[in-house]
């Protein structure tokens, strides 16, 4: 079944002490649609505290928005029937940031994969299950004999993150919600991971929502990009357009802050520290909006 994931006017408030009104607004009136067909990569880029992870939690059904709705195949995900909910949980798969926190250190990594086989009834027999697991591990360029039977601490961060991708590969969801999946990996391993996501898009028709603060990974992935700041999406469009002709001052600030690898092209102006600090994670999303930083 091919469907659509849609956020319609999503707002997420959190109670907070010592803030005017007693709450902060982490996500404010966010709407977008992820189509399964044609498969695509959509990046959501913004800095710490911009609300991007909250959106991931909303899309995954881990957090019910205070207003607006998350629709899967046209239906509110918080009002699905049991069978529909199971379908949604299989069809929309997460990949999280921390490749260490996902695994229970007391179990071998095989367990994560076997759980998926059993929970979703992927195969009827153990031997077919093992076949499936090995096939998926190879699809993410892991050798089954090097990882099966091992404990999480015996694998590198990149290997652990790829095991999560192998799990996704077994389930063949329409959607992957990847929340900062590469921010704890170093450059080479990072490229590896991104290539696998692109493979999944091309070969298995999976659509990815890729959440990151890093513009160079957005650039590498291509596709569409949405820029979020203070809980609001301020710009969206194809990566090539947004990166080359940014229209919103915040996008411009982000792009101008990338250190250009050219000593003849150094920053000639100073960045306004206070304006940046206002955007930083210490500031609640609904704090008074600062003037655009002077560049």
């Amino acid at each position: 079944m091919k469907s659509e994931l849609e956020l319609r006017g999503v707002q997420q408030r959190f109670h907070a002490r010592g803030v005017e009104g007693g709450y902060i607004t982490a996500v404010d009136d966010v709407s977008f649609t992820l189509a399964a067909e044609p498969p695509q990569v959509v990046s959501l880029v913004g800095q710490s505290g911009s609300g991007k992870s909250t959106i991931a939690r909303n899309v995954l059904g881990l957090q019910k928005p205070t207003e607006g709705s998350v629709l899967y195949g046209g239906k509110d995900i918080f009002k699905l029937s049991r069978a529909e909910y199971d379908e949604y949980r299989r069809d929309v798969q997460p990949v999280f940031q921390d490749p260490y926190a996902i695994f229970n250190p007391f179990y071998r990594v095989d367990r994560v994969l076997w759980k998926a086989v059993k929970k979703f009834g992927l195969t009827s027999s153990r031997s077919k299950g093992l076949e499936l697991i090995e096939e998926s591990l190879r699809a993410v360029r892991l050798e089954p004999e090097n990882v099966l039977g091992r404990y999480p601490h015996q694998l590198s961060g990149g290997q652990r993150q790829r095991i999560m991708l192998a799990r996704v590969h077994m389930l063949r969801p329409s959607f992957i919600i990847a929340d900062e999946p590469v921010s704890m990996l170093d450059a080479q391993v990072r490229k590896h991971f991104l290539d696998i996501l692109l493979d999944f898009q091309r070969e298995h028709g999976m659509t990815t929502l890729f959440i990151t603060h890093d513009l160079s990974t957005v650039y590498y992935l291509g596709g569409e990009v949405m820029v979020i700041t203070k809980g609001t999406i301020v710009e969206r469009g194809p990566v090539s357009t947004v990166m080359h002709e940014p229209s919103h001052p915040y996008t411009q600030l982000l792009l101008d802050s990338i250190p250009q690898p050219d000593p003849d092209n150094r920053w000639s102006t100073r960045i306004n520290v206070d304006a940046v600090e206002e955007l930083d994670d210490s500031t609640p999303a609904d704090a008074p909006k600062p003037e655009a930083p002077i560049l």
Partner: protein, 270 residues
């Protein structure tokens, strides 16, 4: 002869593993000139961080310096062989003449001490003679990295990542060291905060005359900040030169590859 702060000659650092020895730094020669910002570039595993901890004498087993010499020339004092100095003499050098901004410095502040007390800790420990000045020093140092005086009475958990990084930078220059080694000072920070940090590092050199050795895998950081760049590959120094020469006319094929492989993101700043 130019005025050097640090002279490294034929430095070898080896890690012993159960599969044999691994040489992380091989026969490295390097001069750090007084007042300059020297960038150390290279990919993961090229030996950049090992070099830093070896120079700071923070190398832990199984790492071991297996050859070479490191001479440190603190201003107004006699040269010191950094690989031989020990105990009390080394402790006195740290912070006052040689300071370090570690990678992942977010976790380097003591979570149960106010920022002010962390400054006092360093200043009183390493320069007890300056006790009387401490209260005027702290706001001045915080101001230098663009932080308000009220930050002094805050706890680390009240600060953002970029603010913590700047507090550490202020502590690192508090005693006007001759040399400060910053290991990946911008990694893991948002891009706008990265720019603030680079700007502050430039300010510290301008205002304190501190010599900076900045280790980063990000060639953009070197292009924006460094006077000279040293490129490491598999533990060796493949090229050292003026930042313009290294970027515009790299002599070593590896440096050329490194520069060509940088993704050019977005429009060019004008």
């Amino acid at each position: 002869m130019s005025d050097s702060v640090l002279e490294v000659k034929g430095l070898d650092v080896t890690y012993s593993t159960n599969r044999g020895d691994v040489k992380a730094v091989r026969g490295l020669d390097l001069d750090v000139r007084r007042g300059e910002i020297l960038g150390i570039a290279g990919e993961s595993g090229s030996g950049k961080s090992t070099l830093a901890v070896a120079l700071l004498r923070l190398l832990k087993p199984p790492g071991k310096v297996t050859g070479g010499s490191v001479t440190f020339y603190p201003g107004g004092r006699s040269p010191i062989d950094l690989l031989k100095v020990d105990g009390e003499e080394l402790r006195v050098l740290r912070w006052s003449a040689l300071s370090y901004l570690p990678q992942g410095s977010m976790s380097s502040l003591n979570p149960v001490m106010r920022v002010r007390d962390q400054f006092k800790d360093v200043i009183l420990e390493h320069a007890p003679g300056r006790r009387g000045e401490v209260d005027t020093m702290i706001p001045r140092l915080l101001g230098e990295v663009g932080l308000e005086p009220r930050v002094a009475s805050m706890y680390p958990h009240e600060l953002s990542g970029g603010m913590k990084q700047r507090v550490l930078m202020a502590i690192a220059v508090a005693l006007e060291p001759d040399l400060m080694i910053a290991d990946e000072p911008t990694t893991a920070l948002d891009v706008t905060i990265q720019r603030v940090i680079l700007q502050s590092l430039g300010d510290l050199r301008r205002d304190f005359g501190v010599t900076l050795m900045v280790i980063s895998h990000d060639m953009g950081v070197h292009a924006q900040l460094a006077d000279r760049v040293a490129v490491m590959y598999e533990g060796r120094l493949v090229e050292v030169g003026d930042v313009r020469q290294v970027f515009k006319d790299p002599r070593d094929p590896y440096t050329r590859q490194l520069i060509e492989s940088i993704p050019r993101v977005g429009r060019r700043a004008s």
